[in-house]
């Protein structure tokens, strides 16, 4: 809506835009968006499925296999040139991976191998912890 005001004898008219209805619309829109907004922040964990028989262009010198044996035990195995294996408690896993990474800094790939009946939430927790040290984390599993 435009309201006009006569400014005098010279016929020059000052035009003023009425912003009140626009502000009303904005208030309604902003309120609606605030109410319907989701405050969950969703992130992405990049992964790939390691399948047997898959061709690898240039296999890494060393890689890490992390087998989740049970809810509390994890087997960490270095496959490649510097083979080694250890079974640790799940809460000691990060420290063990850190130690291996310090010893073999070229390791940049890990494969998490959970048991079939393990919940997806638990698998993601382990992947997340491994990702602290190793940037590329793939998922594996026993071939059926």
């Amino acid at each position: 809506m435009i309201s006009g005001q006569e400014s005098g004898a010279n016929g020059h008219e000052e035009v003023e835009l009425n912003l009140a209805p626009i502000i009303d619309c904005f208030v309604v829109l902003v309120t609606f968006l605030l109410i319907s907004a989701s405050y969950l922040s969703i992130g992405i964990l990049e992964t790939a499925l390691a399948t047997p028989g898959q061709e690898v262009q240039s296999p890494p010198e060393d890689a890490l296999d992390i087998k989740i044996l049970s809810d509390s035990k994890i087997e960490i195995e270095v496959v490649g040139k510097h083979r080694q294996k250890q079974v640790v408690e799940i809460d000691r896993m990060v420290a063990s991976v850190q130690a291996i990474k310090k010893q073999l800094p070229k390791i940049d790939t890990a494969t998490v191998i959970p048991t079939n009946d393990m919940s997806f939430g638990k698998v993601v927790t382990v992947m997340d912890q491994v990702k602290q040290e190793i940037p590329k984390v793939a998922l594996g599993g026993k071939s059926e």
């Binding site: 969703i42 964990l45 990049e46 790939a48 993601v124 927790t125 059926e144």
Partner: protein, 162 residues
Amino acid sequence: MKKRYTRRSNSRPQNEEMSLNITALADVFVILLVFMLKSFSSGLQIMPNQPMTLPQAGHSDAGDISAMKVEITNNAILVESEKAEDLSVQSSPAGEYPGLRKALNKAKEKQRYLASQGAGVAKPNELVVLADKDVPYWVIKKALVSAAMEGMTDAKLAVVKE
């Protein structure tokens, strides 16, 4: 100490009309609206359509989410919000999901058609998996194997940032 309240003398006439300058207010609202519309539209793409609890992770990336969406709940698998596989019937960890493969193939065909029409579509070899945290791992693995058989080898797992 005594407080003294003084009244400022006003030179204005008493019946003068006061008008509030709402231009600045309008500016603020425009900025707020643009910001909220932007976050609203980017968040919608990745939101699950089925009720589920996503797992939590602290080291996730914001990432590019322009990939095909696969939702896995305890009862069903959905591709781009359409039911592809019923999980309420007993199934074994071995093999693949034929319904999921068919749905992925159909979705890829749709994306290809849309791309030929010039529309912006998801990347053909990527998928975003939104799965409930209580789903057993073999279901996820079987779904990823089925997707890999359709040439979709890059999987992204959707998580809630801690």
